[in-house]
Symmetry: C2
Subunit: 145 residues, 2 copies
């Protein structure tokens, strides 16, 4: 399962997701987004084509694929960013388009041990290209997981 | 996939999970717990036998079963408690034993639209037996999903 870098950011992405993130690429089902907050390694998976609200709205085959991609992304996080704890969450109280947060947490991050949502000040990447490349290299190295 | 009501609450449950919840029963992999806060319909799934920290620590067969049980529990929530949004999260910053929150949210709940963690005052069930029974009936009605 490879991250496709050639696909452009999809038009169906909710505007707030587009505004808050950098586009990393596409897995078979999900767009992969880098949250533009350098305090934590934090990506978001949003399944195509954006018409879903809850995980259980996905048909069973897509739901299995969705969870497989969440697991893959969690592996990329674990292998490349040495988090002390992984936080996984589909909330959607503000942005109803289904999207899954995968966040690496450390005891020295500014929100610890609280959840990141609402507890992190803005902290955009000073070098977004380096941040994007680190994640893309991580996905490439996991390969066919 | 049935909720087994005969099994007692497992001894491997983290003490904070045990203290914060009522035991509902056992799915094939997970203990199912009712969070003792009546503000939201909120259950927790904790996979046996409590030695896991991250979802990706589970072997692949157990990981698939784990996600299937999360989906089942989400269905029970959706069918019986009419949430406007389902919040699913594995955080574990405070309780490192792997557990998944499945929370039904409504725009009139006291934490909306913020996450529930850290944003809900204590609100234990006045009638815990009725709360437990509602969830157990919901799991029984979903049957062999």
């Amino acid at each position: 399962m490879k991250l496709d870098l050639a696909t452009p950011a999809p038009l169906w992405l909710h505007s707030q997701l587009r505004n808050d993130t950098h586009y990393l690429g596409a897995l078979p089902l999900c767009a992969v987004l880098l949250m533009n907050n350098a305090a934590c390694p934090w990506i978001i998976l949003a399944p195509a084509s954006g018409q879903w609200r809850e995980v259980i709205d996905l048909p069973q085959d897509l739901r299995r694929q969705f969870w497989a991609e969440v697991d893959l992304a969690s592996h990329v996080l674990a292998k490349n960013f040495a988090p002390e704890k992984i936080n996984i969450a589909a909330l959607g109280n503000m942005v109803p388009q289904l999207h899954m947060h995968i966040v690496g947490r450390r005891a020295d991050d500014p929100a610890w041990p609280r959840p990141v949502w609402g507890n992190l000040p803005p902290n955009p990447y000073a070098d977004a290209v380096a941040g994007i490349d680190a994640w893309r290299r991580g996905f490439a190295a996991i390969g066919d997981f």
